[in-house]
Amino acid sequence: MLKFTVKFAHQRLITRLVINNSPIFLCIYREITAYQKLAAHRSSSQLIAARHCVTVTSRPLAPPRVSRVSLTRKTLTTTSALAKIPPLMSVIPSEEISMTNPLLPASQPTGLSDLLHVSQIVLLQARDLLFTSFVADEQLTYKSKLMPGSTIGTSLSSIGSCLVVTLRQPQGNIYAMRGTTSSCC
């Protein structure tokens, strides 16, 4: 169980994040605020990657040496914590990310088999519903009044095609496909 402690000092300019009683992260409060402003203009994937990096950046806790000059800088790229953000996480193998991420408990390993198992259970949920609750084919093509254009059948087939395309790869070309039907949203 991870224990988080956030301490504020120096007129709330310094934030210390302590995990399991050992400080791993030191940043300037102002930088976080500037980061949040910048985040509004970034794409979601960059935001997630940036947030991830900021969260897990491991840095030995040194005595704060914060000058007023650095705190008044407005350019985010010149501030120390965010200037060192590594490239997007997608270039790092999942295995390495999980090993270097102190926030992911190593006692709960997750591999591809877990992912496949969860997908299976999710599908079985729908199959059980079909078996137990529906009695006529017309129920699959009934057009919803709350969600115009949507039917039970389109939702089922959307997920079916989504998974099938991912799992059945043609030789020589690995691809996935989304949004091929108008109901897939």
């Binding site: 591809l112 199959r127 709350l146 959307s158 079916g160």
Partner: protein, 113 residues
């Protein structure tokens, strides 16, 4: 699949069986890794894929096998929720359905935390 109960049931069963086959060939050497054999080809969890998304503009994005698989399961819950809404208009007594992954794992596999 869209208009036949039997067709939908069979299609879902086929995909579940397909996942069973993949699970049989799946090797997890260490955590956050693993590979399966798809049509005689070994796919790693980080295998690069090209995503062709039409929403409605044509987008081609680089992604990975594990990420797409994860998205498919997550996206399924979204559609199950939609099914639940439509089914609620038809069937008065709906069983527990459209539970998220975390709840499913908690319920089916008995994880305690």
């Amino acid at each position: 699949m869209e208009s036949s109960l039997q067709g939908a049931y069979d299609a879902l069963t086929d995909t579940v069986k397909r996942l069973d086959q993949l699970l049989a060939t799946c090797s997890d050497r260490e955590h956050a890794s693993g590979s399966v054999t798809v049509d005689g080809r070994t796919l790693n969890i980080d295998e690069t894929m090209t995503l062709n998304a039409v929403t409605p503009h044509m987008q081609a994005l680089q992604t990975s096998f594990g990420r797409e698989l994860w998205f498919s399961a997550l996206h399924a819950i979204h559609h199950w929720s939609m099914v639940r809404v439509v089914a609620g208009e038809l069937v008065s007594d709906m069983p527990r359905f459209a539970s998220c992954q975390a709840f499913l794992i908690h319920s089916f596999l008995g994880y305690s935390n």
